[in-house]
Each structure stands twice: as structure tokens, then as C-alpha cells.
Symmetry: C2
Subunit: 250 residues, 2 copies
Amino acid sequence: MHPLDATRVLMDGLGSDSSVCMKCGSRSVGLCAPLDAAALDDMSGESERLALEPREAVFRQGDPARHVYTLTEGMARLTRVLPDGRQAAIGFRFAGDILGFTPEAEHAFGAEMLTRGTVCRLDRRRLEQMFRRYPIMERRFLDLCVRELSASQDHILALGRFSAEERVAAFLISLVEAQERRAHVGPVFDLPATRADIGEFLGLTLETVSRAVSAFRKRGWIRLHGHSGIELTDRASLVSLAAGEGAHAA
Amino acid sequence: MHPLDATRVLMDGLGSDSSVCMKCGSRSVGLCAPLDAAALDDMSGESERLALEPREAVFRQGDPARHVYTLTEGMARLTRVLPDGRQAAIGFRFAGDILGFTPEAEHAFGAEMLTRGTVCRLDRRRLEQMFRRYPIMERRFLDLCVRELSASQDHILALGRFSAEERVAAFLISLVEAQERRAHVGPVFDLPATRADIGEFLGLTLETVSRAVSAFRKRGWIRLHGHSGIELTDRASLVSLAAGEGAHAA
DNA sequence: CGCCCCGTTGAGATCGCTCAACACTAGTGG
DNA sequence: CCACTAGTGTTGAGCGATCTCAACGGGGCG
């Protein structure tokens, strides 16, 4: 697994299934896949579909955690803020990922859309009922959680030990891999995050991110297409940087 | 919750219970607490107690994940290494914490003792059986996992946004709080990690850690007692630094 | 058309790293 | 008992990666 791969977690290896979440009408791989028709019927009772604009919040840090969300369309980012206003992005989420699941009373971080998109909102008490009725769902959540934890640890490693360019390379690779797992076609990938968004995720300033991207471009490793399109023209080099095969040790 | 509090996770809020793990003979709060006597009896069948020396590995990164461990005595650290040899500590673990639980085939990180200590080793297949027999255990693990995830995110925030002194302060506070939750008495706490260990956890060099500790000492915020004793003489200042109320925003 | 947001690039400042010297402690063996 | 050694901690000086501050360009949208 690649470091910085916080993006892949809530889908990876779980989702070639394709159950359809009744009310949402969308493929909701992460959450619904392990359930049969009756279960889905149960669940759709209180789930609601919401359309969201770019930069709109799904929920905010500190909100009572009354719902769990499935991101059905678009890309979101998770952020946590400090008392003095400093802010960091904890991770990014894509279609199929789950947002806001926690046993705590409040959301420990906020989630906001980067693109236009939709989420499927499920009442938390409803989810608890589901757990009691379909214990396999709980196991599913446990697996998701452990994978997510593993990705967080990769991110910790990257933040603690990677140079700026290594972090940006790792981010690009994980972004591209996340889209490939979602059956992306063609050489041009979507990069809806701004330099500032990326910087907040990687613990860098937006200028440093911009410089790294420019450096990759000048080396012929990537090509930018319009405002949010990116193509990896020398993926091997990026992967090597991202994996931490850097100049440090022998 | 304090940033950097990766240390508290696997105990916190779960453990005023005090079931005794039969074979180990030790209080094994995190793992055994939710079980009744019959369940403990079940489990003790294949659990084994192991004594370990300082710097001895409990398991290594890449080892097949055949067992789950409960740290019954001592302090351990979790580390992950990069292909080029760079290494980071993912977290620290104390008596009562669980080590090495994963649904994957291999351990994604290594665990090694910082002090002399003991672990209780449980066969993984045995644990899976337990999950089937006592579903509440699975729920317990899910809660643990989510809390751990939250702590990892705090750590991410710290690595991405905190200055060197803020990170060291946050580490000291979380260390002290972890010991307080374990019914520590007296003003002097145990700090078995070397400057290098702390640095690997915080993404700093050992010199930078040493300088931060010296600065705190010179400001009268802490006092060192012998080689592994530390006393917080101005806890409020440390907490303020650790919480991110720093000089940045207004 | 003009504004605003985003991205790019440059120059200087700064924080933490690197390299190096030295002190202290504990364990070891003479 | 003491010299010796290895590991750890401390401190200093210089360097370098990243941040900060600043200017400028381009594209989308009202």
C-alpha cells in the first residue's frame, strides 16, 4: 500500500459488489454491499438524498453526530481545526465512501464538498438498529475502520518523514489510484482540490505545493489539462518518489 | 481530546472494568473486560504469556498476523519503515492496550518494547471464534478502532501544523495523561522513550527534541528526575502549547 | 468589462536539520 | 575499585528546505 493513501480506504477491496441503496437509487458499495434486499429495504426507510454545492459542508466539526452519510457523487474533504484557527485536512473522500461514522456524540472533524455532489443521509439510531439486525454490517465497519487506520498511519509516516515533493507525489498517486478503482477511463484524471486544499492535507503551504507540481511538470512527469485535469506522463518516477525510495539512505 | 494523544486510545473510557484474563492472570482491560467468566474461560485456552526485554520486538512489520497481543506490563512503540530505511513511530502503547489486531494477512507495522514487560498472546483464529460467539467483542473492537482513528487524526494535525515545541509539549501531556488514567500516583512520571524514540514519533530529530525539552526545563515548566523521570511543574503552559493556542492566529 | 479566485514565480527569512564536540551514566571487565 | 566503553543527552554553528511576503497572470463569472 502506498503512503498517503488515505483516499482509498473506505472503498478498497470491499466494493466490486453492487447492491443498490433503494431510496438513494445509487450504487452504495461501502455501506450497502453486504446486505440483502430485505436489509436494504429496512434501511432505506429513513435514508435521505441530499444535493450539495462545491464548498458546502456535509457536517461541521462539533456538530452532534446524528447521521451517517454515504457520499454517492462527488469528492469531499475532511478537516479539523485548532483553537487558534490553524486547520488541516485529514483526508479526502470519493463516491462510495462513508462519512461521519463515529461512536462519539459529536463529529470530531468537518466534511465539505470539493465538487458538486450528493450524499445519502442515514439516521444514526437507524444504523445502530441495522447493526443489531445484521451483525455482518458491524464486521464490515470494523474492517473499514482498520483499513482507514492503516491509511492514516501511512499519512503520519508521510507527514513525519517525507519531503515536500515526496508528499505531493504520494498524493497524486493515491488520487489517481482512487479514481482507477472507481473504473476511471482515459489518461486524464480529475483534480478538484486547489493548491491550498492539497497543502492543508500535506502539511505544506500552497506555494510549496505549486512549486512541486511545477517541478513535476518541467521534468515531464505530469501534464495539466485545463483547470482540474491531470495526466501522469511518467508514473514510474512519481511512484518511486511517493514510495519513499528517496535519496536518503543507501 | 488532545492532539498527539495516540497513546490513550486503546484504553480510554473502556476500562474501569476489571475482568481477569485467566491464563495471563493479569487485568486485561481492553480485550477481556466485556466478557463474562465463560467467555474468558473460552479464550484462555490458547493465550500465552510472554516476557520481553527492552528493545525486543513483539512482532515485526511484514510478519504474518497470526496473533493478537495484549500488553500487560511495560511500554511499547509501534514503528513503520520505508523502503529507503527511513522510519517513523506510529504510536506508543501501555499496559492494557491491544497490539497487532488487523484483518490483513501481515502486520503493517512492527511493535517493540521500550521497557521490560509482558504481553498476552492470543491466536487470531481464536479471536475470530470469539467474535462469532460473543458479538459484543466485535463492537468493542470497532469502538476501539474508531477512537484510535481519532487519535491518529490528532497526530496528523500535529505533524502537519505544529511547531517542534508544540509537538513535544503535546507528547508530554499525552504521556502524562495516559499514566494518570492508569492510576499513576505522585508528581513524577515515567518517560522510558529516548530522545530518538520521541523524535521518530513526532517527525523531529533527536537534537530538536532535546532542545525543546531543555527549553521547557529552563522555563521552569518541567523538571527531570534521573534518567526516566519527569515532573510537570507548569502544566498549564504545556497544555496551552499542546492544544495549539499558539502565536499564529489572533 | 472588470472582479475575484486561483496559480505561478521570486526573494528573503526562519525553523529545524546536519555535523560535531563534549558530558553523563551504566554496565563491563581488569 | 576503577578504567574503559557504549549509549544517551546536551549544546553549538552553519546550512538548507520550506515558509512568508509579494507581485503578477489567467480564467470564469457576474
